[in-house]
């Protein structure tokens, strides 16, 4: 039973045709990696799953994206509800300039949850899931900006987990982190797979092999190859994929 289904998706920025006829199915409780050179459309595609492109002027799409069988661009779908189900972690850690606690509860507060007890429980649960609880449990009221870069990114993951999304989109979540923090994030992703469906955009092919079940290779707006990660990296079918993963361009 597939959780995400993209059918004939095309996307444009003004006259720029950035995604060309993409079809893809994604299974629940899996990690899918999007790879490809800069500007290949992988981030644009990722951001379509929670409609983060909506506010970009000149953005236009064709085709359908179904999540749990529902077309997410349908006019009856409320984008705010969609984003509560499809969380996102960004390239650089972007905690709000507020306390650790306020960051984690933000999504719930946005939904109108005010009960202190529920909020505290969620804070502990999310931070634990994000493997940050032990490090910050005594400083929940400290500014999130005082954390290290790696901690900030795990806080952003906790913030996304707090609203219990089914799907988490990660746009190069370790791009700005040091190797140790990166390893922690990767470990976290593997652990989260039990409860969440994760899609991760990455430039780092080792990372893709380490964390993902399936990998999709994009090139100038086209989905070139979409396969089991092990297979894609060992026996790529397409010559472009092979060139890319062996480092001949990109």
């Amino acid at each position: 039973m597939k959780q995400i289904e993209a059918k004939n998706v095309n996307a444009y920025y003004g006259d720029n045709h950035v995604l060309k006829n993409i079809n893809m199915d994604i299974m629940p409780n899996s990690v899918t990696a999007f790879i490809g050179p800069s500007g290949c459309g992988k981030s644009t595609f990722l951001r379509m799953f929670n409609r983060m492109n909506d506010y970009i002027e000149g953005f236009r799409k064709e085709g359908e994206i179904l999540i749990d069988g529902i077309e997410i661009y349908h006019k009856n779908v409320k984008v705010e509800e969609l984003r509560q189900k499809v969380g996102m972690v960004f390239q650089t850690p972007n905690p709000f300039p507020k306390s650790v606690y306020e960051n984690v509860v933000y999504g719930l507060k946005v939904q109108g949850v005010k009960n202190k007890k529920i909020l505290s429980e969620v804070v502990e649960r999310s931070l634990t899931q994000a493997a940050l609880w032990e490090e910050v449990k005594d400083s929940l009221n400290k500014s999130a900006l005082s954390l290290s870069g790696g901690q900030q990114q795990r806080l952003c993951i906790a913030r996304a987990l707090a609203v219990e999304p089914g799907i988490i989109l990660m746009d190069e979540p370790a791009a700005s982190l040091d190797p140790i923090s990166t390893a922690k994030i990767e470990e976290l992703i593997t652990g989260l797979k039990k409860n969440y469906t994760i899609i991760i955009v990455t430039h780092n092919m080792q990372q893709a092999t380490r964390v993902s079940d399936k990998t999709a290779f994009f090139y100038v707006g086209e989905l070139i190859e979409y396969e089991q990660t092990a297979k894609l990296f060992s026996k790529p079918v397409n010559a472009k994929t092979e060139n890319y993963i062996s480092g001949r361009f990109g």
Binding site: E81, G87, M88, T92
Partner: protein
Amino acid sequence: MGKLKEKIIESLLAVSGLLTILTTIGIIWVLFSESISFFSHVPLSDFLFDTQWTPLFVNKQYGILPLVCGTFLISIIAILVAMPIGLTIAVYLSEYAPQKFRRVIKPLLEVLAAVPTVVYGFFALTVLTPFLQKFIPDLGSFNALSAGIVMGIMIIPLVSSLSEDALYAIPKSLREASYGMGATRFQTAFKVAVPAASSGIVVSVILAIARAIGETMIVTIAAGQRPVITIDPRDAVETITAYIVQVSLGDVQHGSLEYQTIFAVGITLFIFTFILNNISFWAKKKYHQKYE
């Protein structure tokens, strides 16, 4: 040869820069020297605490409080108009408006600040006051209310453009984080962007207050010349600036105590705006550090 020429040019340019310092020294010296003669005749305590300002009457009293009161009453009215509207505009333009709309509307809003103040004074006296009198029967033909409202309209662009700059400086990633959690633009604006830009917004409001306190022609034309302590916006009042104009228009002898009064009230005004401006520089420095 060439080296010497370069040196001479650099020195000439530097002199122009130094002239600005000379201007400041000039302002302070002028205000101080005339005020000192004033305060040798009028005790500072009278000036600060007496509640009557009647230097042009036979029974002369030199308490600046009525002028300060008039100045602040009108400034408060102006801020009450400019702050909510200016902030709403800033939030709307930075968080909602399409780029095209922003590009067209921003220069148009600047027009509000470009209209000469004497013109605003005319509006307040001949258009707004008669209009308001329909609803507020005991509104005088000179009153603080109209002058304050019109001044508020004039300083809207000051609040809106500086606040928008502050909002604009907030990294896009913070907004995305908020949208990504399912927040609406309204929630993102008021839970994330405005708090993060708060010091910049405070700067804009402080500068607007400083501007309002120093504004002259609107109040001279529309608020009257009655130095009284009141908080009733329907009353005619006199501001510090309006008093300076009143004296300048009359026939006051140089060196007389009446002449010196305009410098004594002038230095008071200068101190107010100087303090407000420096608070705003300090706050601005703080928020620049935060995002660099």
